[in-house]
C-alpha cells in the first residue's frame, strides 16, 4: 500500500503497554486518515455515554493521508475523542510539524486509552516507544515543558505535542499545542489528555513521505508548482503578507466583526487592532508549517521580548479584542501568550470571558463573584487576570472553566441568552448574520459551533469572482447572496461540507485548497492519487468527506443529540446593534426550513436528521445502522 505507513500505535496507559495495528488497503481506502479514521475508531470502540474524563474515553490522534507530503498546507492531523465541552463527537485539527513527524516515525495514528497512575509523557522515536515520567513537568508552562523534554532526550529537533496546566486542571476548553505555535484548540481535548495523566507526546522520525508515495515524481512536481503559485494567487498572497490578522478590517467594514459578545458587528476602535497596528506594534518575524510555502504564521514581541508562543491569529484577536471590547493590541498579544502557555482554546476562552462580561454588566455576576475584578467590556487587565483564573480554576475561573453553557446554567436568569454557543461550544469569530451558510455550519457541525465547515458565503457572491470559478470542479457554479438560504444554498452547503471534511481526512489546511485558497481541486485529487496509486474521481473523493461527517453524526445521535441541537444562539435571530448590517437577523423560519432541506439533501430524515439506510449503505456505512438509537431508526 502506498501513501501511508498503514500502522496505528495503540497505547494503554493503565497497563503501560503498546500494540501495533496494521491497516489493510481495503479499510484505508474508506477511512484514509484524519477525521475519517478517528471517526471510525471512536464509533466502533468507544461505548456510548462514556464520561469524557473516564479512563475509558479514547484519545485518537490521526494524521491525514497526505500529512507530511511535499505539498504546501498538507500538514494537518486530527485529535479526537468524546468532547468534555459538548458531550459529543470531539475533534480538532492542527498544522505545524508534529503530524508530518509522526508519519516520518512510521505511524498514521495513535490511539490512547486508560489512565496512567502518575503523570507521564510518550516518547516515540521511530518504532521505539517509551512511557516516561512527567511528574517533574506537571504544572509547568508549555514552553518550559518543551525545552525540558528536548533537553532530556538530547535532541532539539524532537517535535512535542502537549497539553498545558489548563488540560491538567480539566478546563473544558483546554487544547493541545505542538511547537508552541500550532493548536488543536477546540472541543476540550486537552482536558481529555489531562484526565489520562498524559502531558505530552514527543516524536522523532526519519522516513520521508516521498518514500511511501506511489508516484513521488508527480507528487514532488505538484508541490514545486504549487509553491510557486502561492505568490501568484491573490488569496494565498494575502495570507502570506498579512496572515489571518488581515481579516479584521474587511470583516469590520462588512459589519460582521463580532463585537461585545456578538451584540454588535462593528468595533469603533478597529484601527487599534487591525493588521497595520499588529505589524507596527507586535510583528517580529514570519514562520510557517512543514513544507508550506504560504507562510501565514506570525512571530511577535510581548512585554518587550520575543514571545516563544507565536503571534495571535485572527480568531484570538477577535475573541480577546472586539468581542471583549478590548482595543489594546498588546493586551491581546498577552492574552494569546497566556492561552498558549496554559494551553486554552483562545476562541472559547475569549468568548466565555465576553459572556461573563455581559453577565457582569447585567448584574448577574458581581464584584463579589469576580474577586473584585471590574469585569466590564473593554477592561483588558480584568480579562488577562480572568484567563489565568480560568486556567488555574480559581474563584470565578472555576465556573468559567466549564464553558459558557454550563456556567450560564449555574448563573441562571438571562445568562443562557448571553452564552453564544452551539452544542456547548462557543462560536468562532465569524458573525453569521452576514453569511448564513456560516450559521448553518455552526448549527449542524458535529463538534458544536465551528467556522471551518464550509467556505464562507461571500466567496460565492459574485458570478465571475476567482473563488466561485475555482469551485467549478466541485460542481458549484452559481453565485448566491451571502444573506440567503433555501434549496440552492443548501445544495452549495452540502458540496462544500463534503469538501471541507475531505480536507480534514487527508490533512490539508483550510488555507490550501480552493475555493478558500489557491490549490485547484484537481491538484488535491492528483496529490491523493499520486500518493496512493488509487484513481479516485472527484465524486469518490467527496464521498470520503461525506462518510466522515456521517460517522460523526451517528456518534452524536448515539449520545442523544437531536434536531433541537442543530440550532443557533437566540441572539442571532435578533438584529445586530450597529454597523452596516444593523438590525439584520437570521430569519428563523427560513433557517429552520433550510435545515430540513439540508437534511433531505444529505439523505437524512428531513425532520429528525437521522441518516437513512440508503445513504449509509451508499457510503459503505451499512455497518453503522445498528449503532443508531432504536427510537431514531
Amino acid at each position: 500500500m502506498y501513501g501511508t505507513t498503514a500502522k496505528i500505535l495503540r497505547v494503554d496507559l493503565t497497563s503501560g503497554t503498546f500494540e501495533t495495528e496494521t491497516l489493510s488497503e481495503e479499510f484505508y481506502r474508506l477511512y484514509p486518515g484524519g477525521k475519517a479514521l478517528a471517526g471510525y475508531i471512536l464509533l466502533n470502540e468507544l461505548p456510548p455515554h462514556t464520561d469524557p474524563f473516564s479512563p475509558d474515553n479514547l484519545l485518537v490522534i490521526a494524521s491525514g493521508l497526505l500529512t507530511g507530503a511535499p505539498v504546501s498546507t498538507a500538514t494537518r492531523y486530527v485529535v479526537s475523542g468524546r468532547s468534555p465541552l459538548t458531550g459529543g463527537y470531539g475533534e480538532s485539527e492542527a498544522g505545524g510539524f508534529w503530524g508530518p513527524e509522526l508519519k516520518m516515525a512510521g505511524w498514521e495514528a495513535i490511539v490512547v486509552k486508560g489512565k496512567a497512575p502518575k503523570p507521564v509523557y510518550l516518547w516515540i522515536n521511530g518504532d521505539q516507544v517509551e512511557i516516561r515520567s512527567a511528574e517533574h513537568l506537571w504544572g509547568k508552562m508549555t514552553a518550559e515543558v518543551q525545552e525540558a523534554i528536548r533537553t532530556e532526550l538530547a535532541d532539539e529537533k524532537v517535535r512535542v505535542l502537549q497539553i498545558g496546566p489548563a488540560g491538567e486542571k480539566l478546563v473544558r476548553f483546554a487544547g493541545l499545542t505542538n511547537d508552541l505555535r500550532h493548536f488543536n484548540g477546540r472541543n476540550g481535548l486537552g482536558a481529555v489528555m489531562g484526565s489520562k495523566n498524559l502531558r505530552a507526546i514527543a516524536v522523532r522520525g526519519s522516513q520521508r513521505y516521498q518514500a511511501m508515495a506511489y508516484d513521488a515524481k508527480t507528487l514532488l512536481g505538484i508541490g514545486g508548482r504549487l509553491a510557486k503559485d502561492v505568490k501568484e494567487n491573490p488569496l494565498s498572497w494575502d495570507l502570506q503578507v498579512r496572515g489571518t490578522p488581515g481579516l479584521v478590517e474587511p470583516l469590520n467594514a462588512g459589519g460582521i466583526l463580532p463585537t461585545r459578545n456578538f451584540r454588535q458587528g462593528a468595533f469603533e476602535n478597529m484601527d487599534d487592532v487591525k493588521w497595520e497596528a499588529y505589524e507596527k506594534e507586535l510583528l517580529t518575524a514570519r514562520r510557517t508549517c512543514y513544507a508550506c510555502a504560504v507562510r501565514c504564521k506570525r512571530e511577535v514581541a510581548v512585554d518587550g521580548r520575543e514571545s516563544p508562543y507565536g503571534g495571535p491569529e485572527y480568531e484570538t484577536i477577535g475573541a480577546f479584542g472586539p468581542n471583549c471590547g478590548v482595543s489594546d493590541i498588546h493586551a491581546i498579544a498577552k492574552a494569546n501568550e497566556l492561552c498558549n502557555a496554559y494551553m486554552l482554546d483562545s476562541i472559547s476562552c475569549g468568548a466565555t470571558i465576553a459572556f461573563a462580561m455581559e453577565c457582569f454588566e447585567h448584574g448577574l455576576l458581581t464584584v463579589g463573584d469576580t474577586g473584585g475584578l471590574d469585569l466590564r467590556f473593554g477592561n483588558a487587565e480584568a480579562m488577562l487576570t480572568m484567563i489565568e483564573m480560568i486556567a488555574r480554576r480559581e474563584g470565578l475561573g472555576d465556573l468559567l472553566a466549564e464553558g459558557s453553557k454550563r456556567a450560564a446554567e449555574k448563573i441562571g436568569g438571562e445568562a443562557a441568552f448571553f452564552a453564544i454557543q452551539v452544542k456547548g461550544q462557543e462560536l468562532a469569530m465569524h458573525e453569521p448574520r452576514g453569511k448564513y451558510n456560516v450559521g448553518m455550519g455552526y448549527a449542524i457541525s458535529e463538534i458544536g459551533a465551528d467556522h471551518l465547515v464550509v467556505t464562507h458565503d461571500p466567496a460565492f457572491a459574485k458570478p465571475d469572482a476567482i473563488q466561485l470559478k475555482a469551485a467549478a470542479p466541485l460542481g458549484i457554479t452559481k453565485a448566491l447572496p451571502p444573506r440567503s438560504l433555501g434549496e440552492e444554498k443548501m445544495e452549495m452547503f452540502y458540496i462544500l461540507e463534503k469538501w471541507g471534511s475531505l480536507e480534514k481526512v487527508v490533512g490539508f489546511c483550510f488555507f490550501g485548497p480552493a475555493p478558500r485558497s489557491f490549490i485547484p481541486p484537481e491538484d488535491v485529487l492528483l496529490s491523493i492519487n499520486s500518493a496512493t496509486g488509487w484513481n479516485l474521481t472527484m465524486d469518490e473523493a467527496l464521498q470520503i468527506g461525506e462518510r466522515a461527517t456521517n460517522m460523526a453524526r451517528i456518534f452524536n445521535l448515539r449520545e442523544g443529540f437531536t434536531r433541537k441541537d442543530d440550532t443557533l444562539p437566540e441572539r442571532l435571530f435578533q438584529g445586530l446593534e450597529n454597523g452596516p448590517l444593523q438590525g439584520n437577523a437570521i430569519p428563523r423560519d427560513e433557517f429552520d426550513a433550510s435545515l430540513t432541506s439540508l437534511y433531505r439533501i444529505k439523505g437524512w430524515h428531513p425532520e429528525t436528521g437521522v441518516p437513512s439506510r440508503e445513504r449509509l449503505e451508499a457510503l459503505s456505512l451499512g455497518w453503522a445502522l445498528e449503532m443508531l438509537p432504536q427510537e431514531t431508526k
Binding site: 491573490p234 498572497w237 494575502d238 488581515g246 474587511p250 464562507h456 461571500p458 483550510f510
Partner: protein, 76 residues
C-alpha cells in the same frame, strides 16, 4: 483621492501597495478609476466611501474622498 485596499484586493493594486493617492481632474466614477488601475471589479466585495458603504457601479469620487475597497474574506 485616497484609495485603500483590504483582503486579497491589495494583490491587484499598483505595486501591490495597500493604499495609493490619485489626483483627479474632477468628479470621476469609481468604476472608471478602478478599471484604469486594472483592479477587477468582480473581486470587489465591499466599497466604503468616506466610511460609508457605497456602490462600485454608481459611486462618484472627488479629490478629497477616501475610498476603501475590500475583497471577500474567509475564516481560518
Amino acid at each position: 483621492m485616497k484609495l485603500t485596499s483590504g483582503g486579497y484586493l491589495t494583490f491587484y493594486m499598483p505595486e501591490r501597495k495597500r493604499s495609493i493617492e490619485i489626483q483627479l481632474n474632477g468628479p470621476t466614477p469609481l468604476k472608471e478609476i478602478l478599471t484604469d488601475l486594472h483592479i477587477p471589479l468582480e473581486e470587489i466585495h465591499l466599497v466604503a466611501l468616506n466610511g460609508e458603504q457605497a456602490d462600485v457601479e454608481t459611486a462618484i469620487i472627488r479629490n478629497a474622498d477616501v475610498v476603501q475597497i475590500f475583497s471577500s474574506v474567509d475564516g481560518g
